[in-house]
Symmetry: C3
Subunit: 476 residues, 3 copies
């Protein structure tokens, strides 16, 4: 299909992985420089136009981006109400991206669909910044978080950061986890019951950042004197002995003191109907003075992406450990630095030794049109207005078991059936499909692989079942 | 009534007729000049404020106007959500216009009521640009369309342009038809069934632009090898022999090749309830590669005002004939030129020989307060918030039959009854009214005419029926 | 409680009382200066950012503030739709204030809750301007009103101003009443039946501005030749003999001629359910040419804060007495002057002899946490998102009867019971409470006072009733 998708994409920030450690540090150095001489920045982006497209409620992110652009002397065009746009007439994101891309110099987008910012970046032809896409990522919030950690605690490498609350739907959490892992911090997961970190994120952590994740029974470890605990991720360069005597050492680890406690709001607007009925908010533990009297928290920064509702007590506002308003305030210089960098108004020193040490996964991409679809219901690729043009692509991130990751929303899943393009070229009799977990997976080259997620999809393309598929008898 | 309406109105753009051919060409020359040196334009409108009042959903129009103003160095105040304004408290358009007119230097308005932009222009005291008023007009879209035609095909005179899809509700279509006629293009109407060009527009075409409209039976002409066809408008300076052998020649005409195919979206948000139930979208033919393989389309530009939904296939996006994204992108320099011109920041050479050749209709205006109202239900003059002050006026565009045109929404209609102001001055006995299609019409001077649309209205003003009215026996 | 509330608050404009007479006159002189050389003001606030937070519908106020900021060369960030913000996620005003306060240089806020602007000023750390908070105040509208009076009639002292229509819910009215009193104007109250000035405002007028309020039976005084009349407030420096022969003199007073008639819209969006059913709009008298033919109105300016609906006839628009569009237009220079002053871009001469002559009430503040709450249902202090942190405080504005005034919404009320902190320190037996109107009130020092509004509240804190409370036998 002729898709008209831009071939030369502008430098964008869609997930936190789009920026190297060197780039992030460069942005931070620029933010420091700008903070120190704020009035001098006015005029830096004179004549440039930022499109601020917010298809979900926002105060903080939108207003801080707009403030940042104004402080650079640039102009802003805004969509703050999704109902007041052409999307209400059924326009696709690709069309909106192309049109706005022909007006403005840079786009900031927030959208409820996961992967939406990637689609906009694919078609806009100008730099795009993800201001939050569903439960996927919110990379500029992560920049503000890291910037605060760095300013308050120095290098992030080796810091112990506890993540607290809704680790399932908090997109700020998902961006932050990967960033902390990349920078070499240790992460302690303290989810509210039922709101644990999604499995695909844990898998990505292990596979791509090389660290180690230890899971615990919350009831064993999280005594009232410590905290609810689900898992600890430790970076490869800071080995722990947790695995040997986990129960004891975790407690020790925590008693050694956290560097920061990152609290999140229950993202109830993303809860499923079933979750809404379970009332997960009831078991959501409030972070207050009493909780933070524990030894582990003595020097811990208290962080929160805001807005807060009830999960973080107002009595903490005057506590010197509380950093959440400083986090928000730092959003302006960080976003100024980011805008100036992506608009080419400022250069940064982006080379870093640390980046060279990081693993660089280079997964093969699955593009064959076999009807395979991302199973995530809020992925951008499944929306009626987008299916008309979208190219379904998946990274093959694992072969044992076969695991695909949508290139838009980054959800991972294990498809059921496989076949080969080679076998049936003119040889109809061999046009058979197999279980994805059968020994055939090893025999088919990645570039020849055809993948199906259902019997119907395989049959629709003229494939017949291998006679062993049905009985589950295929050799593994 | 003392209405306080401004007597000296600022130069505005409400319908495409407000600009002469010379002015349009001058705007285009300025747009070319600005495109070539975009950064130099910043500062041209420094210190000027544009009010962007959008009382209907919009992305493209609003954002491109706002971008244009910013690229000129001006400022923007925006209303993007009608529910968040004083109109929600029942304020009239006239009051809004007067107040915003005392704040800003220029107003861009989009509104669901037809004629709304005219009312705003009447009261604002500053230049007003119509950004779309109901199904009436959208003149700046037309400027972008003409600009694209001119840049891609040279002079518009003599071009053959097919209009495709919803020709009933598409306001961009209505502005475009008159502009094409004025510039001397031939127009081929290809409506989706049930969405034909309204009769009052066809009439205006014939009466005011001097051209010829030939109507065809779609079933006869529109073979599968050609296209659905409703009528052809040909300009007076390019006479055709269509009328002599219509069936043959239309096909020939089309086979000769179109210069542009202008596709439109079904404006389902304007469909009547009955139309919604008929599901006019089902018979709406999609424009795709297959359709455009026809010889007639070989060199045709594919145009669309956007947003599109399903009527124009995404596979066309990479086709070199496709112009719709270029049309949108050109909205910025065209609107920059327009703003700079209306704000007096730039002059244009507006004189043109072509304008002198155009017919200049000078219709008498009917202003007598006889209770006559525009029958268009979404005309601004019939809305509860506006009837408190509005002056009902109509151009008398025809006397055989008597045809009035609302000066706001430009709907034409044929009222039923007439009388004379002369007859009853002190002579009560002769205070009678007559059928509008009777011979009395010729006997009453235009300036003495009283017009009623119902028996009740005539009686309310103390008129009695001529004894022949009831029986329909009045001499015609 | 550690609230983190800012101790050093920036100069703000929350109620009209926040500005002295000298400051108001200084603002007006600056507005004159700016009007005379509008283009020279561009650049005065270059690089400054104004946050425009409108949580209720507005055209005029928001757009005129934004225009003002743009004409000063500053930038604007806007929230125009409450549903599109983090408040929709349950964020408190204090958090919003703190975050936006760390982005912008000045905040303009409109909110449906009374006292909301005060809360924002308490936490923002930057200047805050109240753009209207429920039915409480709208001080910048008042500045525009006073500016128009001053420009059209010279000094405000001694002017006779009639206030017409909805004097109960019109927040512009409440700000205006105190301002007129402070400047020494006489006020004639002409409410629509059922929409009289609230009692707490009348009380404040008498207690704090030293004037005199005379009430009349509307049926006696307001003959059809005069106007509906409820009360007259006269300033102490312009004594009248009204009290001696009220009926006669009021008529005389009015026949002497008004300087201005200030008309207001029925604020039906604030009507209670019962008021909605009574249809107070039916008895709302329209101000039109006929009414204004009366001798009292011969030279009266006709003013209105806009938007108008039906209460002021359009036929008045062309009348030279009509000032409402001029009032609106003057909003831009007045707000420019205000912004420049609060942002420190311009100084004003704020000293005035008149201020020295004004009474300066210095009421003791009641802060004891006895569960006492402001009874106003739309006071900011009672809202679920705000009770988590708000400090309930009341000015003790009277002791006979004991009267408290909420420091946020300024509603006054008379609580039922009192006790003393002294009595029960270690002396449990004496922990009793008394009627607020008993003789005990005099015996307890203000700083020891504990106040309850219900038996339950007193009991909840361990207090028992004085044995005489129940029977209402306590000595008064």
């Amino acid at each position: 299909m002729a898709l008209g998708r831009e071939t030369a994409m502008a430098k964008s920030l869609i997930t936190i992985d789009d920026f190297s450690i060197g780039e992030v540090n460069g942005i931070f150095a620029l933010a420091d420089e700008m903070s120190a001489a704020m009035p001098d920045q006015f005029g830096l982006c004179r004549g440039k136009v930022m499109a601020s497209l917010f298809f979900e409620p926002s105060t903080r992110t939108r207003l801080s981006f707009e403030t940042a652009m104004h402080r650079l002397g640039g102009s802003v065009i805004t969509v703050a109400d999704p109902k007041a746009t052409s999307l209400a007439k059924g326009e696709s994101l690709a069309d909106t991206a192309r049109v706005v891309g022909s007006y403005a110099d840079i786009i900031v987008i927030r959208h409820p669909w996961e992967g939406a910012a990637q689609v906009v970046a694919d078609y806009a032809g100008i730099p795009v910044i993800n201001g939050g896409d569903g439960g996927h990522q919110h990379p500029t919030q992560t920049l503000c978080d890291l910037y605060t950690l760095k300013k308050e605690r120095g290098p992030i490498k080796g810091l112990k950061i506890a993540l607290w609350g809704d680790l399932k739907y908090g997109r700020t959490i998902h961006s932050l986890i990967f960033a902390l892992a990349k920078f070499g911090a240790d992460i302690i997961f303290c989810p509210s019951p039922g709101l644990e970190v999604p499995e695909h994120i844990i898998k990505k952590l292990v596979m791509e950042y090389g660290g180690k994740v230890e899971k615990y029974q919350a009831q064993n470890l999280a005594g009232k004197d410590v905290m609810p605990l689900d898992a600890i991720y430790t970076t490869p360069t800071s080995p722990h002995q947790l695995a040997m005597m986990p129960d004891v050492n975790v407690a020790l680890e925590l008693k050694g003191g956290l560097d920061a406690l990152y609290v999140t709001r229950p993202q109830k607007e993303r809860f499923t109907a079933a979750e809404g009925q379970q009332d997960l908010k009831k078991t959501y533990q409030v972070v207050d003075k009493k909780l933070l009297k524990g030894k582990a928290f003595q020097k811990a920064l208290v962080m929160h992406p805001l807005p807060r509702v009830d999960e973080l007590a107002y009595e903490m506002d005057a506590d010197p450990r509380s950093m959440y308003f400083a986090q928000a305030a730092r959003g302006v210089p960080v976003r100024m630095a980011l805008l100036a960098y992506l608009l080419g108004a400022k250069n940064i020193r982006a080379d870093s030794q640390e980046d060279k040490a990081l693993p660089k996964p280079d997964y093969p991409v699955y593009r064959y049109e076999s009807g395979l679809r991302c199973p995530n219901p809020i992925c951008v690729t499944g929306q009626p207005s987008e299916v008309r043009y979208i190219r379904h692509e998946f990274k093959m991130v694992n072969f044992k078991p076969l695991t695909l990751r949508c290139i838009y929303c980054e959800h991972g899943f294990e498809p059921k059936f496989i076949a080969s393009t080679e076998w049936h070229e003119g040889k109809l009799a061999t046009k058979t499909y197999h279980s994805a977990d059968s020994h055939w997976l090893k025999k088919i080259k990645a570039e020849n692989l055809i993948i199906f997620d259902s019997v119907e999809a395989a049959q629709a393309q003229g494939f017949k079942a291998n006679h062993l598929v049905g009985g589950g008898l295929e050799k593994k």
